[in-house]
């Protein structure tokens, strides 16, 4: 297995690791969003979905651990590459300028680290129930202990939480907007005809994910989705 470690340690191996883990994480956020959009279908639908997942404990844990591994690999590799990049330019330019690099591409480290903080908070919030125990308690109090609808709507009814979640979606948008097209390039997908479309698609996909997430939070806040009694 040393060959795999050697591959990971190389510059391009690191990039490819970022691309593959990034792709998996993107797949997860899409699935996560699609699941959560059931919030609009009412409590029964989304609670049934939650129950469906929890009834498959074995699979759920495999998925969770897998996701954790991918996530950790993405973060660790990203930090390793970023440190290498900093070391590669010991002296900054007295006058710096940018010709065509997008803001999103230049802020990947910042957006990535911000997302790390957000994900930790998100887990503490909804998975471990540590930041808002009252909301978390509503989940357990509901039908079969899976009243996700009650927990989520209670949380997003709090303006600060809803706005923070929605705000973080801007960061997610930036990260995905560059990340998706970047991973295609890193995996060697480059084509004179299709690459511009990949670039456009990555904006659309990023907008879909980040917009969908934000919509959920803001819909509860605005009362479009009714808060569970």
């Amino acid at each position: 297995m040393t060959w795999l470690f050697d591959f990971w340690r190389s510059s391009i191996g690191g990039k490819v690791t970022m691309a593959i883990t990034g792709l998996l994480l993107f797949g997860f956020v899409v699935a996560h969003l699609l699941g959560n959009l059931q919030l609009f279908a009412g409590p029964e639908a989304i609670n049934a979905y939650a129950r469906f997942l929890h009834e498959r404990q074995g699979l759920l844990w495999v998925a969770r651990l897998g996701l954790l591994a991918v996530f950790v690999l993405h973060v660790v590799t990203g930090i390793r590459l970023a440190r290498g990049n900093r070391a590669a330019r010991p002296v900054p330019y007295a006058k710096d300028d940018t010709v065509q690099a997008t803001f999103a591409s230049r802020s990947m480290v910042f957006s990535g680290l911000s997302l790390l903080v957000f994900v930790l908070y998100h887990l503490l919030h909804f998975t471990f129930g540590l930041t808002n125990p009252a909301h978390y308690a509503r989940k357990a109090a509901g039908a079969d202990g899976h009243d996700v609808y009650a927990m989520v709507t209670a949380s997003f009814h709090v303006p600060a939480i809803a706005i923070a979640y929605a705000g973080f979606q801007i960061v997610l948008f930036l990260h995905l907007r560059h990340g998706i097209q970047s991973l295609a390039q890193t995996l060697g997908l480059h084509h004179g005809r299709y690459t511009p479309w990949i670039a456009r698609a990555s904006v659309v996909l990023a907008l879909f994910v980040a917009g969908g997430n934000a919509l959920l939070a803001l819909s509860v806040l605005s009362g479009l989705v009714t808060v569970a009694p």
């Binding site: 510059s11 191996g13 990049n85 330019r89 010991p90 002296v91 591409s105 990947m108 390039q185 995996l187």
Partner: protein
């Protein structure tokens, strides 16, 4: 016209411990600049003035002054080779600046390119990367007739697009991560599209990336800043090709010389 220059002056060579040495930006005012001068001719005028005043002239690399040798290269107002696309500093003319402009002139900034003096940097890292495998292993002698292997025109053109790299290092200087992947990608792409070069593709991809990594360049994050400043406008396509070739060489191709599993022995 008149310009105000801020030029990086550094007398002693950068070391790993002290990259900056006594370096600093120094301000110079320059009068009677003709818009028809090239940027380097403007620096010539500055140097003639400095020598007459008994000061040390600004050291900068240059040679052919027609945009092909790749010697010259300074960062002008934060952009390698200055504001004109597809143009080296020697072919950049002062008519690209307005009268009275303040212009910042700095050397390439990268750990792999230590400053030798003022605006002169050491780009031997590029040579070492090439020495690791950017060639076809063919000795001088009697290869087959040049027309023995037809090469599709499109392939030859693609190879040429990459081979046109002048090795100036602007890609590294522009990259926010000081990555050399446009340069290395150009080498890989040049040989990838030619049947003569394909023979050694795995070895080349492996060795070039290893050599590049050993030099301390950064990692590409696909910001495409390199492509924007490349005086030969080499596309980032070559980086995708480099990535593909490296993955192919390291993960897909089966290693040779190992015992076969489940063989007939």
């Amino acid at each position: 016209m008149k310009v105000v220059l801020h030029v990086w002056r550094q007398q002693r060579r950068s070391t790993k411990q002290d990259f900056v040495q006594d370096g600093r930006m120094v301000r110079y005012e320059l009068d009677h600049v003709s818009p028809d001068m090239s940027f380097l001719e403007m620096l010539d005028v500055l140097n003639e003035q400095l020598i007459r005043k008994g000061e040390d002239p600004v050291a900068f690399d240059h040679d052919c002054r027609e945009g092909i040798c790749g010697s010259c290269g300074v960062v002008i107002d934060g952009v390698p080779h200055g504001p004109e696309r597809g143009t080296t500093a020697c072919q950049l003319h002062m008519r690209s600046f307005r009268d009275g402009a303040e212009i910042w002139v700095e050397p390439w900034r990268a750990a792999a390119f230590p400053v030798v003096r003022d605006l002169v940097v050491d780009r031997s890292a590029f040579d070492r990367v090439v020495q690791a495998g950017a060639f076809v292993s063919v000795n001088t002698g009697a290869p087959q007739d040049a027309n023995a292997i037809p090469v599709p025109k499109a392939a030859a053109d693609r190879a040429f697009d990459a081979a046109t790299c002048i090795g100036c290092g602007a890609c590294v200087a522009a990259c926010k991560n000081a990555s050399a992947m446009l340069f290395v990608g150009a080498k890989v792409s040049h040989f990838l599209h030619l049947p003569q070069g394909r023979v050694e593709r795995e070895r080349r991809a492996r060795n070039l990336v290893a050599a590049m990594d050993a030099e301390g360049f950064g990692n590409c994050t696909n910001q495409n800043e390199c492509e924007a400043v490349c005086p030969k406008e080499i596309p980032v396509r070559v980086i995708a090709e480099l990535n593909r070739e490296f993955v192919r060489a390291r993960l897909i191709e089966e290693p040779v010389g190992k015992k076969r599993v489940g063989g007939d022995g």
